[in-house]
Amino acid sequence: MSQDMSSFAGTDRYEIVVGLEVHAQMRTQSKIFCGCPTRFGAAANTQICPVCAAFPGVLPVLNREVVNMAIKTGLAIHGQVRLLSEFSRKNYFYPDLPAGYQISQYELPIVEHGHLLITPTADLPPKRIGITRIHIEVDAGKSMHEGIQGASWVDLNRTGTPLMEIVSEPDLRSALEAGEYLKKLRAIVRYLGVCDGNMEEGSFRCDANVSVRLRGESRLGTRCELKNLNSIRNVMRAIDYEAVRQIDLIESGERVIQESRLWNADLNSSRSMRGKEDAHDYRYFPEPDLPPLRISAARIESVAASMPELPDAKATRLQTEYQLSEYDAGVLTASQALADYFEAVARYTAELGHPNPKMAANWVIGELGGRLNKDNLEIQQSPISVQQLGKLVAMIQQGVISGKIAKEIFETLFTDGGDPQHIVEQKGLQQVTDSAAIEEAVEQVLATYPEDVAQYRAGKGKVLGFLVGQIMKATQGKANPALVNQLLRAKLDKRL
């Protein structure tokens, strides 16, 4: 039930307002304030030290790369990197928070005033989504409850992993927009190499603040914070569920209570976390163990110079350099790997002397994209190499094979591999460009379908397509379609 809110009776009078808080784990080698490794999957508590486990007397020392990654992300979202920011302590007790406070940023975050452009629907212009701030903070550890008799376990391996908290303005108006925003943001952090963007594994986590209000109302409604959203799909489902829940409450004369709610993907519903939140008073104050963070303009410049081309810039370039549509460019730049793959295919067809970037894009997005999707594979795992696909496209462009044959070869390449040219030769799939052979097929089809011929001559041009199809069938798809068209028209017209 994702985007179509209007299907609920009466709900179209309401507007959904969503703001997202994303916690992105930074891909550093070591933790933010100590030298422990950040990698996943180690045995419990083997990647901790007195610093990240907050033993008495030890002190934090900031990882430079964390600052650089936050600056990069800030620049990528068109934000202002503050020349002076500071770390603060957020105080609360929880077993997975060893110090009893989280080192975070509060009054002076490292980045402010950013935004992203999203394109939720192809027919509307891009929408600007404000990003209030990005701040740096530490991740907590993990507690485990399941299957442990009368107790919980605490594993601090994740404690001290650097996080960026990226807070959007309440500018999103639907689950669809929220989904697009997350995809865009995830693409950016992946391009930058600052986060692997994996929601399922929790390295890219999202909380959604959702409220509803009557359309035209300028005040925001009471919001609820949705937690435990471990995929973009879940974010969207949870937002829709929450909107309906709030509208139902309002419609039945009740009030929405500001609270945190835990999403349950299995039940497709959420439940209140109230009670836990009651006593929260985080008592933020500047972290006395860390002096203020001053960042020079020169440092920002040098970080900027080290940044890769980002999705928007890449999409613009693909449009001008390869004459792609805005849509295609957008799809291809959703991930850097996909865009790289496309560009490599396009370049390879050019090297082979038969360039056609537009066709390359269609194959990468359409055939390959669809096929990978079906097998749940990423572009990096594509069984078809750049060279294989490039050769295939070049052969179509050259006229050696038709598009239809190419699809057949594509399937062979995907499942069995091989060289496209060899497959064509082996299976005798070369396009027939011998006009005598095609002419024979034309004659044969015209003889088989005299009524259609008569219809055509009576002015029904549509029939032409059917006749072409029959000729292609007769030649097992190998006939050059342009030649077929040309000969067929000639024959039909000649007999008039």
């Binding site: 020392v61 376990w153 860390l290």
Partner: protein
């Protein structure tokens, strides 16, 4: 400033300290006295003064992103009151 029992209980909850009725009373009395002493600050105008969080003004040092680590699990767990199979053990956390 006088602090009431309600406030003392709230602060004790935030600080995760127990406070018996006698302690609440004692805290209320003592904290009220201390806070009264603190209110002398109000007589000092401080508009436009930059709050001072650090005793010296030095830039934050930044270290290289290098892993420097040996497994200290046993030594660290040895300090804990209750551990189980490599974990710190706590009473059941109810979400």
């Amino acid at each position: 400033m006088s602090i009431d029992a309600q406030t003392v209980k709230h602060v004790a909850t935030l600080a995760r300290l127990q406070a018996s009725p006698t302690e609440v009373e004692a805290y209320a009395e003592q904290l009220s006295r201390i806070l009264t002493l603190m209110e002398t600050l109000n007589s000092l105008p401080t508009e436009g003064v930059m709050p001072m969080s650090h005793a010296v003004d030095i830039p934050i040092p930044e270290r290289d992103d290098v892993v420097c680590h040996t497994d200290q699990r046993e030594a660290l767990l040895a300090c804990a009151a209750d551990t189980d199979q490599g974990h710190f053990r706590v009473p059941k956390i109810i979400e």
